[in-house]
Symmetry: C2
Subunit: 423 residues, 2 copies
């Protein structure tokens, strides 16, 4: 073949499109029933919108281009900067709270690997303008509502919830200095995927004593159901509000009936420096993060807007699709098309009636199709079957039969009666 | 503000997103009920995929970029080349007929103007692998099925159908030589938008005699209901098959009950050289084309695939959205959000019950929301109203009331009974 898809990007054939639509539809349905409104932004933004948030290094992971006016643009690798820009632009006109979601197409010029492609869709759910931790609870509830909707149980996936300010306070108390903080956070993030010695070595390297490491590990390993209370009891300096928030979050999530999906876990710190409060990840068996988010109260200021609290999460379609397939959670309809009626000329000279009946079924909102080629009834019935059609409509010069393909059951009627019933 | 949307591209705030989703949902619904299956392709393709179809000049109208491997890529300005590439790659594995649709996001680096933006969505409907003109009829029917679905009448929009091979044969007979053919087609395309003298001047310039011009005009102005018969009677040389096709198309569209939306019209030639047969445009009052398409039997070969017949059309969301708004065809729900239940703590100390009831409503698949701030009942009711909620659920320490906001009607019940009913 002369042409192929661009490296790291997928062609989406009908079977793939049905899977993608299943995911996107569920994202949209769950967002709407949780009271979020959809928004979108251009797929191209000025490059600086992304570098101002993530630093100039991000440019290397982007598909960048220069427009005819010489301005640097990039295909969006995430939608949160566009969200911040859009909200900041209308901050005084938008009624609060701003509960918005989006299903953007995103591109990243990173090395393709399993679960990571250069083009994907991401569910974004955000609450803007609300300081209260109830907004974080709302996002986490919405995330769990989705996990339930697609049939994932707490045995298959959990939302692990941490708090960056609390972790920072804890690390400071254990003697980590500000310059070494990023390395300490990285060590925490990796702890559950690396051997204990490797974790300890990472902390020793930045000057944390063996005793402090042991104390930290013991604290981190507090069981999830007790850790919030233990944090509260430990009286971490400068984190009083955050501790109260974590307690309120735990209680709100319990009131909303999603406790079984939640594990408080201070290893969750999220890489991005811009998170300012509660952070969380939905993690499936094998430490695969399917979603991640948290509070980011500084982002609007970064893009030139006013001070404004914000919190939210993102979930990608690729990892999720792999997980759902692996766990057998995909509905069987996704593998075949679905059609209600396949209309067949069962006698010669009835093709114009086939066209007429098909057109009327469609106009009545029902899905209906017919064959372009005039073939024998057997071949047409086979095609009806291949198309996953529920009924075959056999059109004769006088009257017609409606055949239920699953059972073979057949009822005789006339075109008028049949179409009357449909309407 | 520090950042704005890229020039010529739109931010899509919730109200805009509702309009876009209304259009995209209707496109998808109509496609599926007409038996088409959805596909998609990457938003980036190798630049050559577009230049091979449209010539090197197209590059100037594209957002192009170079990847780290030095290959020229472009954001897709249309999806048909990707479709041709995808079908060619699996030509032997795909069951025929291939009836596919797509709702791609597209970008073009052209000058923004009313109804034309640099980023937009386009409905694409194609039948591949079918030589019979019935496939063209199927696409045209689907187009009309959509026009009806959104409430556009034949008085507001018509599908004008022409035939490139017939027009070419007609122009040849009137003395237009092959080198001048593109100019003659351009004149034809413009005729209904320019003064008669300008049209005549365009043809005289390429050597068509005054008599031939008069004859051509007289022929072109044959009323739509008679022109197919007149074409048949005129016995244009070398267009016998195309004339029979046009007659069959007219008869198929009549059988499918969409005659009232169709006007045969040889002025419709479509700019793109790649059309090889029937061509058509959906044109609203004021000569605004909302959709266009036709048969393009050579495209698969152009991208390195086998010989394979193909036909289809595209419709953009921007012009369509303007037309629907102007004609008052947009459903009123699009201007406000829609929510089923807004849950209110009508007495102090009931907020945890509010959370519980909201969570249960959502888990039952119903849309429900509540306020993050604890406010008086009046303010919460006002917010319920602003959110377009159907019901307010007033939660008290003992029992609750369900208030229908449109009528003010209120029924007393208990949380258990209410939730039982919902399930």
């Amino acid at each position: 073949m002369k042409f192929s898809a661009v490296k790291g990007m997928r062609d989406v054939y009908p079977e793939d499109a049905r899977l993608r639509n299943y995911i996107l539809d569920a994202w949209r349905r769950v967002s709407l029933r949780n009271g979020f409104e959809e928004y979108d932004a251009p797929i191209l933004e000025y490059l600086e919108l992304f570098t101002v948030k993530s630093g100039p290094e991000i440019a290397e992971q982007l598909f960048g281009l220069t427009d005819r006016g010489g301005r640097n643009l990039a295909i969006r690798p995430e939608i949160t900067p566009s969200l911040a820009r859009m909200v900041a632009a209308k901050i005084n006109a938008l009624p609060r709270p701003i509960k918005w979601f989006s299903l953007p197409r995103l591109c990243r010029a990173e090395r393709p690997q399993r679960g990571r492609l250069r083009e994907f869709f991401q569910w974004n759910v955000d609450v803007i303008g609300v300081e209260s931790v109830q907004a974080d609870a709302e996002c986490i509830f919405t995330l769990v509502d989705f996990l339930r909707e697609v049939g994932l149980s707490p045995a298959e996936i959990m939302v692990r919830v941490g708090s960056r300010p609390i972790v920072l306070s804890l690390l400071r108390r254990e003697g980590v200095c500000e310059e070494a903080m990023d390395k300490a956070l990285l060590a925490l993030d990796k702890r559950q995927k690396i051997p204990a010695e490797a974790f300890e070595a990472m902390l020793r390297e930045i000057g944390v004593s063996a005793g402090a490491i042991a104390g930290l590990c013991e604290f981190l390993d507090t069981p999830p159901e007790r850790i919030v209370q233990r944090i509260a009891d430990s009286g971490l300096p400068g984190a009083e509000k955050e501790i109260a928030d974590l307690q309120e979050l735990e209680s709100a999530l319990a009131a909303m009936g999603v406790k079984e999906y939640i594990a408080f876990d201070l290893h969750i710190v999220r890489g991005l420096a811009y998170y300012t409060g509660v952070v969380y990840e939905a993690i499936a068996a094998g430490e695969r993060a399917v979603a991640g988010g948290g509070r980011y109260d500084r982002l609007l200021e970064l893009v030139g807007g006013p001070e404004c609290p914000a919190t939210g999460f993102g979930m990608g379609d690729v990892v999720l699709g792999l997980l759902l397939a692996e766990k057998g959670k995909l509905p069987p309809e996704l593998t075949a098309g679905s059609l209600e009626f396949y209309v067949i000329d069962a006698e010669e000279g009835t093709f114009r009636q086939v066209l007429d009946i098909t057109a009327r079924l469609r106009a009545a909102g029902r899905s209906a199709d017919y064959g372009f080629k005039r073939q024998g009834m057997g071949k047409q019935l086979k095609e009806a079957d291949r198309r996953g059609s529920k009924f075959a409509v056999l059109v004769r010069r006088e009257g017609l039969s409606v055949k239920t393909l699953a059972t073979g059951e057949q009822t005789e009627t006339t075109a008028e009666t049949f179409l009357e019933k449909i309407r």
